[in-house]
């Protein structure tokens, strides 16, 4: 079965006497008609794809429009200089998000999570966490199931498409998924995962999808860094015992409602937001030679 609410997903796991990640794996495998071994293998492949994409990053690459490239490398050098404002770890996370976003814009192979445009958030948080805390691959895979579980609820109740509900549905969803799985990795319980998901998504409510010249480049790549950092903040708040006053399911519904009221110009048409700024328009005209 598909998860229609965070509440049901968590109570379902409790009734089944399974940890949340395992409950998500078992129910989704059953729904897809595959074995749990096959499901695990598919998830492991996806973890490998994230790692491979990150390892293949090249700061010399530029996107075909020339608007994007090199910033992930720039950020990494700065983070490693020990002089960054946000500290070594957050600097690494920001760089990892930029690197993956640039890989995507430069036509490298990436893992969409949940979309290609938002592909930097999950690897930036999970892989950086694994490096810092020396986490095993198996544990990261379990965390990816947690992400996927929260993601399916968001997809069912709201949307993960920028064209439907703006960037809150892409980077916002990715951030909420990442926040829940970071809480899992850090030993939090299911309620804390739900709070982290709710807090992360709330912080991204209303975020518009306004790609300059319609390309998945500006402001998409840097928004991945925002989504990743927001996930860290939300998961740390949840781990500190801070709860979201609004339950996760209601936040997800609010995101859907905000998406419905968003004008078309702010839903991936490239006609609003920074895409409609004088510089955004200039880039578009230079690129399309209008």
């Amino acid at each position: 079965m598909s998860f229609l609410s965070v509440k049901e997903m968590i109570s379902g796991a409790q009734e089944a006497g399974l940890p949340l990640w395992e409950y998500i794996m078992v129910s989704s495998a059953e729904e897809a008609g595959i074995s749990t071994e096959k499901s695990w293998e598919m998830m492991a492949m996806r973890l490998q794809a994230m790692k491979d994409a990150d390892a293949g990053y090249n700061p010399a690459l530029r996107s075909r429009s020339g608007l994007v490239g090199g910033d992930g490398g720039r950020m990494l050098n700065y983070a490693r200089s020990g002089k960054s404002i946000s500290g070594d770890f957050m600097g690494e996370v920001i760089s990892a998000a930029l690197r993956m976003g640039e890989c995507n814009a430069c036509m490298h192979r990436i893992l969409a999570a949940p979309t290609a445009g938002a592909c930097g958030v999950l690897p930036a948080t999970l892989l950086s966490y694994a490096k810092k805390f020396d986490t095993s691959d198996d544990e990261i895979i379990r965390a990816m199931y947690v992400s996927a579980g929260f993601g399916t609820v968001i997809a069912e109740r709201a949307s993960i498409a920028g064209a439907e509900a703006g960037c809150q549905a892409e980077v916002g969803s990715a951030s909420a998924m990442a926040a829940a799985s970071l809480v899992y990795l850090h030993g939090g319980d299911e309620q804390q995962m739900a709070h982290a998901c709710a807090i992360a998504l709330k912080n991204m409510l209303g975020l518009v999808c306004d790609p300059v010249a319609g390309l998945v480049e500006v402001p998409c790549v840097k928004r991945n860094a925002a989504g990743a950092v927001n996930a860290l903040a939300a998961s740390d708040m949840a781990m500190a015992g801070i709860s979201s006053r609004i339950p996760a399911d209601e936040v997800i519904d609010a995101m859907a409602a905000v998406g419905e009221t968003m004008p078309a110009s702010l839903r991936e048409t490239g006609n609003g937001g920074v895409a409609a700024s004088p510089t955004g328009i200039k880039f578009r005209e230079e690129y399309f030679g209008k």
Partner: protein, 219 residues
């Protein structure tokens, strides 16, 4: 929605609709054509025409025509690979009346001059829909094992096909037939629940009135 639609697909960026979906359109076109084309004339419509270049839609379509999948890291180099393999391609931007915003219309030409025209749309998340084939309206996604059979519109040809499939214990999920005119050429599109083996395809092709049999596997 399946969890692997949330954590996945693994794909070459930057866009699931404009890149991954475009590879898939090229791939499905090639499968229906049943061989690597010598020439491909590609018309881009709507958003494919407007932002396609920046999303690599052009390279993605050619990659698919070369038989690549959306996760093939050679996609950015598809133009060069096509040149090496002797696939000549051209692009044109044109308004296609009533077409989905992300539509490509592709004419494929073989060495012996055989031609096929196919129109398909990228409908989101890397999923596609074939909208027109050999001048006939169509509506299939090719995300299930799909048979595309061209036949003379004569009584019994459908029965022949279903008989072979039933003998091989292949369950039919959906079945659609279109024809150009009564007694003319018809196209059957059959979505199956399992993979159809090359032997079975040959059995179908051997039936009278069957002109061609193509099979698109979901991966």
């Amino acid at each position: 929605m399946d969890i692997f639609d949330l954590i996945g697909p693994i794909m070459v960026g930057p866009s699931s609709s404009h890149t991954a979906g475009a590879v898939r359109i090229g791939y499905v076109a090639r499968k229906i054509f049943r061989e690597e084309p010598k020439k491909a004339e590609i018309i881009l419509h709507g958003s494919f025409a407007a932002t396609g270049r920046g999303h690599g839609t052009d390279r993605a379509l050619v990659a698919g025509l070369l038989g690549m999948h959306p996760d093939d890291s050679r996609i950015p180099d598809s133009f060069e690979i096509a040149q090496e393999r002797g696939l000549d391609f051209s692009f044109e931007s044109r308004e296609l009346r009533g077409a989905h915003p992300n539509t490509a219309k592709i004419k494929l030409i073989a060495d012996d001059g055989r031609e096929l025209e196919i129109s398909a749309a990228s409908v989101g998340g890397g999923r596609i829909e074939v909208r027109e084939l050999a001048g006939m309206p169509m509506h299939f996604t090719a995300d299930k094992p799909t048979l595309i059979i061209s036949n003379n519109d004569k009584p019994g040809s459908i029965a022949k096909v279903s008989e072979v499939l039933s003998r091989e214990k292949i369950n039919i999920a959906t079945f659609n037939v279109n024809r150009s005119s009564r007694g003319g050429r018809a196209i059957m599109v059959i979505e199956c629940d399992s993979i159809v083996s090359p032997e079975t395809l040959q059995h179908i092709a051997d039936s009278p009135e069957i002109l061609s049999v193509a099979f698109v596997d979901p991966d």
